[in-house]
């Protein structure tokens, strides 16, 4: 009870604490205290801006997802670099509709960000009913494969992380 009252978002607090230490690049006692104060106060003050935010349930799965995304960024960059430098006529740009199984705003935002960060795809919009993402692909040859890939590689782990 006290825990939820003073630490409504433990992960956000932990992140703010680490962010502060990184920002000042020091672990001097004074900065530890200041960081802790910020980590306690900021979530309390900003709580109204976070309507029912789902909590991270499986941090290890989240870490693995981060690894997968970083690897994909490197690999996809090479592919897209080749496409950009190659003949433009050979590209097949497409808008692709990716149906969503995620229901909550926050994980959908993360999924959309991942899609934009991995080169070759940019998420353009989410439908008003939040049932699908609109994604623009630089060169899509196999639409169902792209959708299946996004769902299996990024969405499934996200659902596991947030259990929703």
């Amino acid at each position: 009870m006290i825990m939820t009252r003073f630490l409504p978002q433990p992960w956000l607090s932990l992140m703010l604490f680490l962010l502060w230490l990184l920002l000042v690049n020091s672990v001097a006692p004074g900065h530890l205290v200041l960081g802790a104060i910020l980590a306690l106060l900021l979530p309390l003050f900003t709580q109204r801006f976070w309507p029912d935010r789902p909590a991270v349930q499986r941090p290890l799965v989240a870490l693995r997802l981060l690894g997968v995304v970083l690897l994909d960024i490197v690999l996809a960059n090479l592919t897209v670099a080749r496409q950009v430098l190659g003949p433009v006529k050979r590209l097949h740009p497409r808008f692709v509709r990716v149906p969503l199984d995620l229901t909550h705003e926050f994980p959908i935002t993360i999924l959309a960000s991942i899609i934009s960060l991995t080169p070759g795809t940019v998420s353009v919009d989410v439908t008003p009913d939040r049932k699908a993402l609109l994604v623009h692909g630089l060169s899509v040859d196999d639409e169902p494969a792209l959708v299946a890939d996004i769902k299996a590689r990024y969405e499934a782990p996200l659902m596991e992380v947030f259990r929703c």
């Binding site: 962010l19 990184l22 950009v84 740009p93 808008f95 934009s116 960060l117 009913d129």
Partner: protein, 120 residues
């Protein structure tokens, strides 16, 4: 010596991808395709430079430099949002596109959300 070579390598990789991103921006034929250029520059381009900077400043001075993690973090948070906003605006303006326009979604959105205020 070895470290300098490794650092130079990362700077070169980063610069090369930033260059390819810019070439893409200049060369690709429509707005949506051009968006793909900058996303590449911000991921692997800046990634390479950030790793080089991390190695250089962690070696030359006594303590480790961790500001680079923050640069990456903030970039990864902000880049997709600006890309999404730009492409959303383009969709509303119905810019010329080589990809078949997503009529169903655009119409649905116009009907339900005329101001385009909602963010996913």
């Amino acid at each position: 010596m070895l470290l300098e070579i490794v650092i130079s390598l990362f700077i070169l990789i980063g610069a090369a991808f930033a260059l390819i991103g810019s070439i893409g921006l200049a060369r690709l034929p429509d707005f949506y395709m051009r968006l793909h250029g900058p996303t590449k520059a911000t991921t692997l381009g800046v990634g390479g430079l950030v790793i080089a900077s991390f190695l250089y400043f962690s070696h030359g001075w006594e303590d480790v430099s961790l500001h680079e993690i923050l640069v990456t973090l903030f970039l990864f948070i902000t880049a997709p949002i600006s890309a999404s906003l730009a492409s959303k605006a383009a969709l509303h303006l119905k810019l010329r596109s080589l990809a078949p326009a997503p009529e169903t979604i655009a119409k649905q959105e116009d009907a339900a959300d005329p101001a385009g205020e909602r963010q996913g």
